[in-house]
Amino acid sequence: MAQHQVKFTQDGGLPVALTTIDKVVNWGRSNSLWALTYGLACCGIEMMASGASRYDFDRFGTIFRASPRQADVLIIAGTLTKKHAEFIKRLYDQMTEPRWVISMGSCANTGGMFNTYATVQGADRIVPVDLYLPGCAPRPETLQYGVMLLQKKIRSEKAIKAQKPKRLL
């Protein structure tokens, strides 16, 4: 037994930190956002650059996974064609709750310059989108800032309340 008096909750008396479950869970969720590799066009190159050493996504806990089952965030990076639309819906459905979607670049936001018959005019016609990144293509800094904003958004969500699954319809 220690002779001196231990103030448990002050001065780092014991490795104890008091917080709420919401905060702990959201801290975990927001700092381990595993992203699905989803480069569809030129924006995909910027997404890869964000993951590589110069911009280094890993330090945000954002690690790219090749399987939707292991992913929390779907970064739609590029032009979504009508032929591909059903696959993005299928992959989104395979991701486990809770899940988030970042729409990266003009093409994924609105169809961008591809104002044609073959391009989906905005990925939000297929899946619910949390964050839209403007740009053609957005620089890796934009994507990093977007992920930070998404983290902030996650931190403001209630974690224990049974989350309503996000659906477009």
Partner: protein, 268 residues
């Protein structure tokens, strides 16, 4: 946005109305002006009917009958050393002449010459596949069908190549609208959610010139992040662009903008 006008008769109506204006054409030369081409043409003419032949931009253009296409290409490959089919497709002249032009772009590496073999097809007519002679025709013929709807006989695997299998219409026809017809506009919604969802999802927004800074559903505000669909009053105050809450985040050190280092020397 410019209003979309159906272009059904775009070929019939003259673009320029100046009655003295003559559309410039690349000058055509006589085949006899080039010795190699003249001999090639003689060899083709000996066995097949040639409707027209001339030289344009140092390439010979030969019009043949569509039923001769495989035999002509075989002759050119086996005897005239045109061993590569570098490209083939069709051109839509339906409203001008009521027919398609199908062209085969041939290349001879040994003669260093190119010949374009052309034939015309009425709408609904089919052409024989040249895939047995040139493997490159496999995908080109599928693309030709996909884009123009021209059927190819005896193709080993005949289906669409670019558009989805259940697509309707052939997009490279001059009559096909750029923004897609009714089927194309609702394709992904119909397929994924069903036709009932059309009302909920709504029509495509094709007006790429529309900007509304108070519409927070469709427009991002750089440096003024607001939640999706939030109401923005006129003259709203600027929102600070910091990505952390004021009271800090559990277990994460707060990032202070003022204490950060900005690296200006790229080679540091």
């Amino acid at each position: 946005m410019r209003r979309y006008v159906p272009k059904d008769d775009v070929q019939k109506k003259a673009y320029y109305t100046d009655r003295y204006w003559v559309a410039p054409q690349v000058p055509k030369e006589k085949v006899a002006s080039d010795k190699v081409f003249a001999e090639d043409l003689k060899a083709i003419k000996a066995k097949f009917k040639v409707l027209d032949a001339y030289i344009q931009v140092e390439q010979m253009v030969v019009y043949i009958r569509p039923e001769d296409n495989v035999a002509v290409l075989e002759l050119m490959k086996k005897e005239l050393a045109y061993t590569q089919l570098s490209e083939m497709s069709a051109v839509d002249f339906l409203s001008q002449r009521g027919e398609f032009d199908v062209f085969y772009q041939m290349l001879s590496m040994s003669k260093r010459k190119r010949i374009r073999v052309k034939c015309t097809l009425k709408e609904g007519e089919a052409i024989e596949s040249v895939e047995k002679l040139f493997r490159s025709a496999d995908w080109s013929e599928r693309e030709m069908y996909d884009m123009f709807g021209i059927k190819v006989n005896n193709h080993p695997f005949f289906k669409r190549i670019l558009m989805p299998d259940d697509w309707e219409g052939h997009p490279l026809l001059k009559t096909y609208p750029l923004h897609g017809d009714e089927f194309a506009a609702w394709y992904e919604v119909d397929k994924i959610f069903g036709k009932e969802a059309r009302d909920i999802i709504g029509p495509e927004i094709r007006d790429d010139a529309a900007v509304d800074r108070y519409d927070t559903k469709r427009f991002a505000r750089l440096g003024h992040e607001v939640p999706y669909g939030a109401e923005i009053p006129e003259g709203e105050p600027a929102v600070k662009t910091e990505y952390q809450e004021d009271d800090g985040v559990f277990l994460i050190e707060r990032f202070e903008k003022d204490n950060s280092t900005v690296i200006t020397d790229r080679d540091r």
